[in-house]
């Protein structure tokens, strides 16, 4: 209970700080804020074990942090520093930490589902008990490659959990204008059990994911979770400068009224909550200090790591 709260709170405050660093120019290129969707990353990752793997998206900070990535190294990555998770070579949309089974955030919508499917299949071949959880948005449900991945995963009973974060929009495109039929029915068409979950409640997400993970470990193949959520902030921080009108003020107010941090926070005593908040603040304060103090990569090494070795 406290752990889930710590995670959603950490992600929320991390994102708020990251947005400030975008404004101050320390983070170049902006970010896709995860604010409002924290309950999904927290719930899903809490259901995973140490040998499990995840793939993430362009809106991926929450997934990476919930999986346990070091916030200082994550922040340093966003700032393009050598001490970043990816040594400053990936940035906001590509954070990865293979030591934690984070196989990378992916900037191509719908791409990671098939990568996660292959990873989980491979782990099974290797005799490991690994489950993959792969995050994607409602927009990805219209990418053929992801639908192909559903088929492969169902066909080969791959231990993968498909986590669709339905935040109502793909950039400015509302789900209702983009998706014929229903999201879960698409998964069911492949024989994949599919459930709609309240993505604002981390405990509900944890519960649903735990069932899905147990199913996958038992060799019963993939599960699909549609986690219904709302993006509180911009699609991308560029929207802070160019106000796009695609959501009404009333809709945004209603959407924000169910906040995962508040929902989970209300389950703690005021004292416990205050203690976690203080802990998160000092963690992030230290992280910001470390990240800001980290070296910038040497331009002479701009193409390091392009290949596995010298070519």
């Amino acid at each position: 209970m406290t752990d889930l709260y710590r995670t959603v709170r950490l992600i929320r405050r991390f994102e708020e700080r990251a947005i400030e660093f975008v404004r101050s120019g320390e983070i170049v290129g902006g970010i896709h804020p995860y604010v409002g969707q924290e309950g999904i990353a927290a719930g899903v990752c809490a259901a995973l074990g140490p040998d499990d793997v995840i793939t993430s998206t362009h809106r991926g900070h929450g997934h990476v942090l919930a999986r346990g990535a070091n916030p200082a190294r994550m922040l340093a990555e966003l700032m393009g520093r050598e001490s970043g998770l990816n040594k400053g070579r990936g940035g906001s949309m590509h954070a990865a930490d293979f030591s934690l089974g984070i196989l990378g955030a992916n900037a191509i919508v719908g791409a990671a589902g098939s990568i996660a499917t292959g990873a989980a299949w491979a782990a099974r071949q290797q005799g490991r008990d690994t489950v993959a959880a792969t995050f994607f948005g409602d927009g990805a449900m219209n990418e053929g490659m992801l639908l192909e991945a559903f088929n492969l995963a169902a066909l080969w009973q791959v231990p993968v959990v498909f986590v669709c974060e339905n935040n109502g929009y793909a950039t400015t495109m509302p789900v209702a204008s983009a998706i014929a039929g229903s999201i879960t029915d698409r998964a069911r068409a492949f024989g994949i059990p599919a459930f709609t979950v309240d993505g604002q409640d981390p405990e509900k997400v944890l519960e649903a994911t735990s069932t899905a993970v147990a199913r996958a470990r038992a060799g019963k193949g993939p599960t699909f979770l549609e986690c219904v959520t709302y993006r509180f902030d911009a699609h991308h921080t560029f929207e802070h400068r160019t106000r796009l009108s695609y959501r009404s003020t009333e809709e945004i107010t209603t959407g924000r009224s169910r906040c995962p941090v508040e929902i989970q926070g209300a389950r703690l005593t005021a004292a416990d909550r205050a203690a976690v908040d203080a802990e998160v603040e000092s963690l992030l304060e230290a992280a910001a200090g470390i990240a800001l103090g980290s070296a910038h990569p040497d331009p002479a090494a701009a193409l390091s790591y392009l290949y596995a070795g010298e070519i």
Partner: protein, 320 residues
């Protein structure tokens, strides 16, 4: 010495690597039944999981292979037709190729993409006859186009063992090539190392894949008149610059025969590298597909668009 065909060499390389390393598996369409013959006998020997027949889902199974590679496997994908590489260009150029750099070297993506029957298959028309190796070289994906059975074997083995993605083109007109080989001498061939297939003094002809055999035939025909050196780069990327430059520095003349479309094709790169490194005694010449070519169906039209012996011969005679 026993004869080995190019196609059989591919089969042998796959079976040797499947045998040697349990991380290797092959996936693709109709590979269980071995429709292209490349995987003949492999399913019976290695089973469903190591010879994985896939549905027609190229984009997903190409990324699937990337995911498996991230976990330590060495997938080999067989693509049924060369144009499928256009369908999965994103998955190779933008995913598999970029993971290493983007993650700061945290992972490797040792996937091999094999296209048995690249280029014109004679009579298969526009959408089955492309030869897009220059595209992969351009984005920096390791790319090989072997000409001979021994090189096909050696380069496929190397590609599979390499820790980066490698695209392997097996030109359709080369699949039937046979040569005498000592099976015990079959060995890995390093990437980025070309080969002087025929020594000569007057002019260097750069040729790869099936066109190497045409170049050698033309060189034979000109023997006594023009001493032609034939250089087979074998790997398109990374290019064996040192080998190429050494040959052209000796001959001072260059003709490239290349089954790419002309603009920004492989031959253009060879000319550029030579221009940067050598002093030529005559302007260099390219024999290529025309700009932006689409291979027409009718046999005479198909042949009219492909680089061939007559054009090479004419180019060499004109230059001398």
């Amino acid at each position: 010495m026993p004869k080995l065909s190019y196609l059989k060499a591919l089969n042998r390389a796959l079976s040797d690597e499947l045998e040697r390393d349990s991380a290797v598996f092959v996936l693709g369409e109709d590979i269980r039944a071995a429709a292209s013959n490349v995987t003949a006998g492999l399913h019976a020997r290695f089973g469903d999981d190591r010879v994985l027949d896939t549905p027609l889902s190229e984009q997903a199974f190409t990324n699937f292979a990337t995911g498996a590679a991230l976990m330590g496997m060495r997938p080999v994908i067989e693509f049924q037709i060369p144009s499928l590489l256009f369908l999965v260009f994103e998955q190779i150029a933008n995913q598999a190729h970029k993971f290493s750099l983007m993650t700061g070297g945290q992972c490797k993506v040792p996937v091999t993409y094999v296209v048995p029957g690249s280029g014109s298959r004679t009579g298969w028309a526009g959408q089955h006859s492309d030869h897009p190796y220059s595209l992969f070289a351009h984005v920096g994906v390791k790319t090989v186009v072997p000409a001979t059975p021994a090189d096909a074997y050696g380069l496929l083995v190397t590609a599979i063992r390499d820790d980066d993605p490698v695209v392997f083109f097996a030109p359709a007109p080369a699949l039937g090539v046979r040569e005498d080989v000592d099976f015990a001498a079959l060995a890995p061939v390093p990437l980025g190392v070309g080969r002087v297939a025929r020594a000569g003094d007057d002019v260097t002809v750069v040729a790869l894949g099936h066109l190497l055999h045409d170049a050698l035939a033309v060189a034979d025909e000109l023997a006594g008149r023009i001493s032609v050196e034939v250089f087979d780069p074998r790997t398109v990327y990374p290019l064996d610059v040192a080998g190429l430059v050494a040959s052209v520095q000796k001959t001072g003349r260059l003709v490239v025969i290349d089954d790419s479309n002309r603009t920004s094709g492989f031959a253009a790169e060879v000319l550029a590298v030579v221009a940067e490194n050598c002093t030529l005694t005559a302007p260099p010449h390219r024999v290529t597909r025309p700009n932006g070519a689409v291979l027409p169906f009718a046999l005479a039209l198909d042949r009219a668009v492909q680089p061939g012996r007559d054009q090479l011969l004419a180019a060499l005679l004109e230059m001398s």
